[in-house]
Structure formats: C-alpha cells, structure tokens
C-alpha cells in the first residue's frame, strides 16, 4: 500500500503527539508550581493506656442495624428501569401473552437479546432470520417464534470441541496457559481447574506467571495449597517467561503431567504487554513442555469489548478456548455467544462462584436456556 500514505500518517501522528506532549508537560509544570494546600492537623485523641502502661483496645463498636430510609432516584426513571429490565422471561411472557405475531414481539426479543450482551449485529442477524421465516409463513405462532430463536441460537453453538486437550507423554508436561484482561478471574479459575484435574488423577504444577500485580503469587500460592498442586514462582517484577519456563522444567524433571501457567491481566491495547504475552507463549514451548490449551478468561459482565479481547488475544497467542467467569451473577454473558459464533473460539468452561468447586463444563443448551430463563 501507498508508501506516502503511511509516511504521512506517521508524520501527522508524530507531530500531533510531539506537540501534544510538549503542551501537556508545560501545563503540568505550571500546575506543579502552584503550592499545595497546607494540611490541617486533626485533633488526635491520646491512645488509652491502662494503669500498667499497655495500650487498651477500644471496645468493639456495636453494630446496630439502623432502619435506613434509602433515597431513591426519581421514581419515574427507576420504575421505568425496573419494569423494562426485561429478561427473556419478560420478553417471552409478552410475546406469548400478546397472541399473534407483531413488531412488538420482535422489539421484545431484540431488547432481551441486547440486554444479554449478545450485541447489535448478531441480534439483527438472528431476528432478521426469524422475520424471514415469519414472512414465509413458516412461523405463525408466538411459541414457534420463541422456539425458533432458541433453536437457531443453540444450533450455532453445536458441533464445537469443548474438551480440554491433554496429550500424555513422559517427561513432556502439557502446558495450559491462562490469559485475559485484568480482574476476570484467571487465578481463581486455575485454582478450581487444578483441583479438578488432581481429582481426576493428574499431577499439576502452577506457574506464577503474574510477576506484576502485588501479591499475585501469594494469591496463586493459596490455590496451590487448596488444590494440592505444586507451585513455582519467581521474584516480584521478574520476567514472566522465565517463571513459566522454570515451572515447565520442574514439571518435566518430576514427571508432572500438567503445568497451569498464570499470566498477569493485561489490556489488549497495550502493545508491549501483548508482545510480552507472545514471548511467554513461545518460551512455554521452548523446553520440554507443549502448550495444549491457551484459555482466554472472559468475565460474564463484559460488554462488546469481549469480542475485541477475543480477537486480540486470539491473534497474539492462538487461544484455544474461553472460560466464562462470574456467571453466578446477574449478567448473562451473551458476549461469548458472539465470540464463539463470530470468531470461532469454543467456550469450554464456566465459572459460577468463588469457591474451589465452582467450575463446570460449558453446556450450550443450558447456556441458551439460562439466557431465556429467570
């Protein structure tokens, strides 16, 4: 493509940012020149001491449950929100109750799908298909409409391989990598899965590849204890690739079946962090190990950004499956429907709580029904 164009874009960016940075740092310098407001010294009550000079602990505060009068937002807006918090159930009731088939039915279904984070594009596609069937008189009853939607969605999730890949081989541990943005539940998922795998008779080692976040290795350490897995960690701020490499080596030498590699949460927009992840992926296979699963952990509350996450992480590390977490909450996790149907990454596991047993295999029928439930 046009050399000039690329150069131009670069030139514009360099100029824009160069000038922009100059301006901002001047502004900040000006700000820093302003003197800080002097702090007021609060009255400090002297610590209570008993006769013998030891500090006396304050008696525990009695926690009284007050009858709180909770101020609510303007009644009309809040009411509207509550009423219109249409779950599929609400939508279904509407469709069935109305009898016949009308635009309102499609509005109800559209709202329900959007509320589940299925996304505008996919929603339009699904409903467009149903409209065609209605026009062709292949759907004439409300119940058929609802069944049609459920069938269509279920069929789009059919036929995927949802198994966790494991290739037995002595001295060559399987490596399952866990990637994703910050706060989605990678470490907790590892703990739960390690527990399951150990329960199934495999030996597991956890590699604390999150060397950035404060106390991340300690967090994983707790899960190692709880699940009975071994753990390898490195120094804080160290190179994550080395930790994982060391983990794999240790597993190889001790004939451990499976290494679960934790990585730091990272936003896919950070090029340097994504490069780091690519390196981690490469290094994980440099030694004796084979990466047989790269699991992208996605939070069920995530909106359309989940699709971007799947694309970016998929491109960087060849994601083989998705773990959908926090589905025990109010969010429907509909974004993973888009992830699987549009990007083709199968959803393999679902997290449904914070305790060690709260991890189940993904069942498309259950998932779609749950979208339509409650």
């Amino acid at each position: 493509m046009g050399f000039e164009v690329i150069f131009l874009i670069l030139a514009v960016l360099v100029v824009a940012f160069g000038i922009g940075v100059l301006v901002i740092s001047r502004r900040n310098a000006a700000r820093a020149d302003r003197p800080p407001t002097p702090p007021t010294t609060p009255d400090t009550p002297p610590p209570r001491t008993a006769a013998d000079g030891t500090l006396v602990a304050e008696p525990p505060i009695e926690v009284v449950e007050a009858d709180e009068i909770v101020e609510v937002a303007p009644a009309t807006l809040r009411d509207r929100m509550s009423k219109a918090r249409s779950t599929f159930a609400g939508a279904f009731a509407g469709v069935l109750g109305r009898g016949g088939l009308s635009d309102e039915d499609f509005d109800d279904l559209e709202e329900a799908l959007l509320r589940a984070d299925v996304g505008v594009g996919l929603t339009d596609e699904l409903l467009g298909g149903l409209r065609a069937l209605v026009d062709a008189k292949e759907i004439t009853e409300p119940q058929e409409l609802l069944d049609g939607l459920q069938t269509e969605m279920t069929s789009r999730l059919a036929g995927s391989d949802r198994s966790l890949h494991f290739e037995a081989g002595e001295g060559s541990p399987n490596v399952w990598m866990f990637v994703g943005v910050n706060g989605v539940g990678k470490t907790t998922t590892i703990g739960k899965l390690a527990n399951q795998q150990i329960g199934d008779g495999r030996t597991v080692l956890l590699a604390a590849g999150d060397t950035f976040r404060a106390a991340a290795a300690e967090q994983l350490g707790t899960w190692a204890e709880r699940s009975g897995a071994e753990i390898v960690r490195g120094a804080d701020g160290g190179d994550p690739s080395s930790v994982i490499f060391d983990g794999v080596e240790r597993a190889a030498s001790r004939d451990i079946d499976l290494v679960m590699a934790d990585t730091a949460g990272r936003l896919h927009t950070k090029t340097n962090l994504m490069d780091e992840l690519r390196k981690v992926r490469r290094v994980a296979e440099k030694g004796a190990g084979r990466v047989t699963e790269t699991l992208l952990v996605i939070d069920a509350t995530t909106g359309q950004n989940g699709l971007t996450q799947a694309r970016e992480f998929g491109e960087a590390t060849n994601v083989t499956g998705v773990v959908l977490t926090k589905l025990d909450g109010s969010a429907k996790g509909g974004i993973v429907f888009a992830v699987e149907t549009e990007i083709g990454i199968p959803i393999k596991l679902v997290g449904i709580g914070e305790t060690i047993d709260d991890l189940v295999p993904f069942d498309p029928d259950e998932f779609i029904s749950a979208l339509f439930d409650q």
């Binding site: 493509m1 050399f3 000039e4 164009v5 150069f7 131009l8 874009i9 670069l10 030139a11 514009v12 960016l13 360099v14 100029v15 824009a16 940012f17 160069g18 000038i19 922009g20 940075v21 301006v23 901002i24 800080p36 407001t37 609060p42 610590p47 304050e58 525990p60 505060i61 009284v64 449950e65 909770v70 809040r78 219109a84 918090r85 509320r115 589940a116 984070d117 505008v120 943005v181 910050n182 706060g183 539940g185 976040r213 404060a214 967090q219 350490g221 707790t222 896919h268 927009t269 090029t271 939070d299 995530t302 909106g303 359309q304 950004n305 971007t308 926090k326 909450g329 109010s330 914070e354």
Partner: protein, 473 residues
C-alpha cells in the same frame, strides 16, 4: 473495530444538507445510527431509549440551522447531550468536621477496588491528607497482602484484622483515630449484587464506619449488567460517586452513561492504568466522545505523555519547529508511538484525520520498511539526508530490503515534512528570540489550548504533501 459515528452519519448527513425541511424518515435514520452507536458502546438498552428521545430534538434542531457543516453539528449536539448526561454536578470532597473522613469502596469482583483504594489514598496524600487504608476484603486470597504491598509503595499505612470484615472496618476506624489519620479508606471484597448474604455484609460494614463517601467501582468494559449492579448497590449502600476503572483499554465505556442515568450520582474519578498515579478526575466531555466512538484526543495525548519520554519529546518537538528534526528523531518518535498501541488503533482514535488517511487501514507491519530504511542509513545520512546520492540509495535499499524508489520517496517526504514544520515553527521566531533559548517557546501561530485541543490546528495546516483534496474539513 467500531465504525466511527461521524463516518456513518456522513452518508445520511449528505442527504440532509441542503434540504429545507427534514422528513420523519431523515430524523429516524439519524437516530438509528446514534442508537446503534450507543448500543455498541454498551450503553444500557433502556438508557439508550431515554437518551435518544432527549437528543432527538437537539440533533434535528442542529441540522435545521443552515450551518456549513450539519454533520459536525449533529455530532456536536449529540456529544453535548451525552456530556451533559455524564456530567452535571461534579463531586468535590468535603472533609468531615470530625476526622477521619471515611470512604468506602464497593463493587463487583475484579472491578478494580483494591487498586482504586490505593490510588485514592495517593490522591488524598496529594491533597495534603494522611489516609489510612483498611483491608476488609477477607474473601479473596492475598487481598490484604495486595493492599499492604500497594500501601508500602505509596507510604500509606494499612490496617487489617483477619477475623471478620465488619470488625476489621470498625477497628480500622478506631485505628485511624488513634493514629491521627484524617482519611479512612475501606477496601471491601468484590461481591455480586444478587448475593444476599454478601450485600448484607457490606451493609453492615457501611453501618459500622458510617462512610462520608461510598464509591462504586465500575469496570469500563462492563456491558448491559452495569445497571443492575448499580441499582442494587445504590439501594443497599447509597452510592455517592462512581469510579470508572480500566479506562486505558478500548472499551467504549457506555456503562458510565447507564450507571449515571440510573443512580444519578456523579462519576468522580477515572482510573486509567495499573500504576497508582494513573488516576484522575473524570472528564464527561472526553467520555462522551469515547462512547460515541469518536476518539478521545486529550486522553490519547496524555497516554502519549506517558509513553513518550517527556524530555525527549519536548526536545524533538522543539527541533521540529526549528527544522532540525532528523530522521533519527523521527525513528525515535516512531518507537515511542509504537509503545502507545497499534498504529492502526491510534489512527482510528484520532478525530479530524483526513478520510483518505483513516481508510488506509495501516498495520504495524507497514511501518517495517520505513524503519528498515532509516536503520540502514548511517548517522550522517540520517542527520543530513541531502548527502544521500545514487550509490548510497542503492546501499540503503539493499540493506533494508526495499527498492531505491522507496528510499527516494522517504527522503523526499521527510524533506517536505521538515519544510512544513519549519514554516509552522517560523511563525513564532519573534517570540523565540525573546526567550533566548531556541525553540523553547510555543510559536504563537500554534495556539494550542490544552483544554480544548480538538485538532483544528492540525486541520488548518497547509496541504500535507501528497494529499489530494486539500486540508481535511
């Protein structure tokens, strides 16, 4: 990833412009695009409906005025309405008359409460206060250790007791009084809004410390569920303000709008990174642009400030003005740019980019030839590209795996860019004289008010070489 709203509206607006009267159909078309943009940005379905009803009139009113650029007018009207919806009353901290001022952090698991608590502590320190952090998350493994580590990094004491979260909070309050700390920040465990037991726990914690401020931390990538969460927390706790976290990602952040619509409390802070100083007051106008998918120039620049080594960038910009910008500088700045994210994303995020450039679909790989060519040059060649004669061009082309023609073009383009920059810089030569140092002052011709940097200055730039059609509108 998401079509820019302005691009999408362009087609519609072309039709609208010049019409004396707008039909219902025109109105509907515009609103449809706006609705789609908002939904793609994760704004709650119900909130979208009420917002669209409100902006319908504003947007159409804008196009009725026979203004020169109705497309921009429509977007501006929409953006203004969103800004208003997101902003309004700002939250300014009023400190308790009897210290400590108590702040309670609440939210879902993984939303960023612990990091935000530490950031808030640092922020309060910057305000001259002496905060105490309380680790009342006894649920998640190593949560208290995390807080302790963060506290250590910012030199803020952390209190926790492993026994019970409510007790910890209460004891923490005592500890603050004992130590004479004037701000207490209580971090709590992440909890589901539908978990009755956990919501009761946080209600008890709140009761125990009687917070002056309760902040709900919401992840910028949250989808439709943001409403449900905000409502539930507000019912139990009475939220005073919202903290949006992980805004350094590319999630459009419609959750901000949804939450504001449903609980009506201000969005107090924006958390824009994992480092503890990446915390700032919320800017409704920037958020509005971002939700509409219009890019956020100011945030971009501030991100650039972090990615770019400030001193080097300053010097480079100064040299740019002077016409002393070398290929080395260009290469260096390219590296800084790359740190900021994929060039493709950056281009997409910049408002005011001429359409021809935007549609160019640039890939980071496209930069490789440019980099290679520059790297194949000797330092002298980079400093003085004029010396690059035929044989040098051959050598550079071979060394970089490109054609001689490519080398020619790069040198030519760079020269033209230098000339243009010198022209811009030359506008301020008088002022510079006064300052005594070269290039240290901003040329007056480039009056860039940081508060309203909207690229109009770049838009007004003389023809960029090679661009057909003149400066962007």
């Amino acid at each position: 990833m998401f079509d820019n709203l302005s691009t999408r509206l362009e087609g519609i607006v072309k039709k609208i412009r010049g019409k004396g009267r707008l039909t219902e159909a025109d109105v509907d078309e515009v609103m449809k695009e706006i609705r789609t943009a908002l939904l793609e940005a994760d704004v709650n379905v119900t909130a979208v409906r009420s917002i669209c009803n409100r902006i319908r009139e504003h947007a159409i009113g804008a196009t009725r005025s026979q203004s020169l650029d109705p497309g921009q007018q429509v977007i501006k009207a929409v953006s203004d309405e969103l800004t208003r919806a997101l902003g309004g009353e700002t939250l300014s901290i009023t400190y308790a008359s009897r210290p400590p001022t108590v702040v309670l952090m609440a939210g879902l698991q993984g939303s960023g409460k612990t990091t935000a608590a530490a950031k808030l502590a640092l922020w309060f320190k910057g305000q001259g206060r002496q905060p105490l952090l309380v680790g009342a998350d006894l649920q998640r493994p190593a949560a208290v250790e995390q807080l302790r580590t963060l506290g250590g990094q910012i030199d803020v004491p952390v209190f926790s007791d492993p026994e019970d979260p409510v007790l910890t909070a209460a004891d923490g309050l005592d500890e603050a009084k004992r130590l004479g700390r004037d701000v207490l920040i209580v971090d709590t465990a992440g909890r589901l809004s539908i978990d009755v037991e956990m919501m009761e726990q946080v209600r008890l914690i709140s009761g125990a410390v009687d917070p002056d401020y309760t902040f709900l931390v919401i992840d910028a990538m949250t989808g439709q569920d943001a409403v449900q969460t905000a409502e539930a927390f507000d019912e139990i706790l009475r939220i005073d303000g919202v903290i949006m976290s992980k805004l350094d990602g590319d999630a459009r952040g419609g959750a901000a709008l949804s939450v504001k619509e449903v609980i009506g409390r201000p969005i107090a802070f924006a958390s824009t990174g994992e480092k503890l100083n990446e915390f700032e007051q919320f800017h409704p106008d920037r958020m509005a642009s971002r939700i509409l998918g219009m890019g956020d120039m100011l945030t971009l620049i501030e991100q650039a400030e972090q990615a770019f080594e400030a001193d080097e960038a300053e010097e480079a910009a100064a040299r740019l003005m002077d016409g002393q910008f070398t290929l080395d500088d260009f290469l260096e700045q390219m590296q800084q740019l790359k740190k900021m994210g994929s060039i493709g994303n950056l281009v997409g995020m910049m408002p005011g980019m001429p359409k021809e450039l935007k549609g160019a679909n640039i890939d980071d790989d496209d930069l490789k030839p440019i980099e290679a060519i520059i790297r194949s040059m000797t330092p002298e060649e980079r400093a003085e590209p004029v010396i690059i004669n035929g044989s040098r061009r051959m050598r550079i082309a071979t060394g970089s795996g490109t054609q001689v023609g490519d080398v020619n073009r790069l040198v030519k383009q760079f020269g033209e860019m230098q000339k243009m920059m010198k022209k811009m810089g030359g506008m301020g030569s008088a002022k510079r004289g006064k300052k005594g140092k070269r290039g240290r002052g901003l040329p007056p011709g480039l009056d860039l008010d940081p508060a309203s940097l909207d690229l109009s200055s770049l838009q007004g730039m003389p023809d960029l070489p090679g661009l057909s059609g003149g400066p962007p509108r």
